[in-house]
Symmetry: C2
Subunit: 137 residues, 2 copies
DNA sequence: CTTGAATCTGTAGTCGCTACAGATTGTACC
DNA sequence: GGTACAATCTGTAGCGACTACAGATTCAAG
């Protein structure tokens, strides 16, 4: 028999990483995770490296990387060499994206705050929020 | 015949509002927009009020309101009275949400910027971005 | 009356999961 | 060995908010 003490079932992986079982299977289906070994009955068995790979994926997702970006990062990691520049490029793109989103949301925040503030006065004939929403750009 | 000069086809509405035709039909399907009049042949005909309603919806979407929130806002507008408080509540919820998202993104920005900066030094043995992604939370 | 643009309905795809249904397997206890 | 019950299996459908077709029809201009 193989060394059973070093493999874990999908439920244990889920508890350890906080990732739902369905999502682990989903990552396998879209080939972010390799197909794991199986018991005679067909249950998945994960080794340490596979759990680490999942953790890597989850951290990337927390940072807002899209699945395809993670795939690219993993390819670079798997490839091994000369990849630091490429990794940096992907990360910088992501940073630009985040900064753009922040700027967009700041504008929204301003508009929404103005609308709420106009309501606050409580002495308007018609609802200022609705008026604002009807206003032309 | 009805007054044809005051109705427009869906293509004209699309050009006027910048909203794709498919999306206009989609808003009708999910009942954000009323079913418009039709020509004998079945083409949709929109009147001024309907175009304004669409503009209202589009402005709400720009501000990040979810479809269900817009539905609630439209119900309040249609209802007519005593709704300013409710409108304000929906808008405030939205504002809280936007502020939370900004805070989240700021954290991301920090992490990503650190990672990129570490890359910039160019004197590390292994890729610092990959290391950061492998690090435990 | 013909041509070509516009519009019609309906369905399937996008992203990143999530939620089932219904069948099978693994494991602990007696 | 038997039995209960948890864990896991596969496969499919759904979410939000559209978007992208296919294939049929209708409209407007000349």
């Amino acid at each position: 028999m193989a060394d059973a003490s070093r493999v874990v079932a999908i439920g244990a992986v889920s508890r350890r990483t906080g990732c739902p079982i369905e999502t682990i299977r989903y990552y396998e289906k879209i080939a972010l995770l390799p197909k794991p070994a199986r018991t005679a009955g067909g249950h998945r068995l994960y080794r340490k490296g596979e759990v680490e790979r999942l953790s890597f994926i989850l951290r990337c997702r927390q940072l807002g990387f899209a699945i395809d970006e993670i795939r690219a990062l993993l390819d670079l990691v798997d490839g091994g060499e000369n990849s630091c520049t490429a990794v940096k490029a992907i990360t910088e793109e992501r940073l630009v994206d985040v900064r753009r989103k922040i700027a967009d949301l700041r504008k929204l925040e301003g508009t929404l705050a103005d609308m709420v503030a106009a309501c606050g006065t409580g002495q308007v004939p018609d609802c200022p929020v609705i008026e604002a929403l009807h206003a032309k750009p």
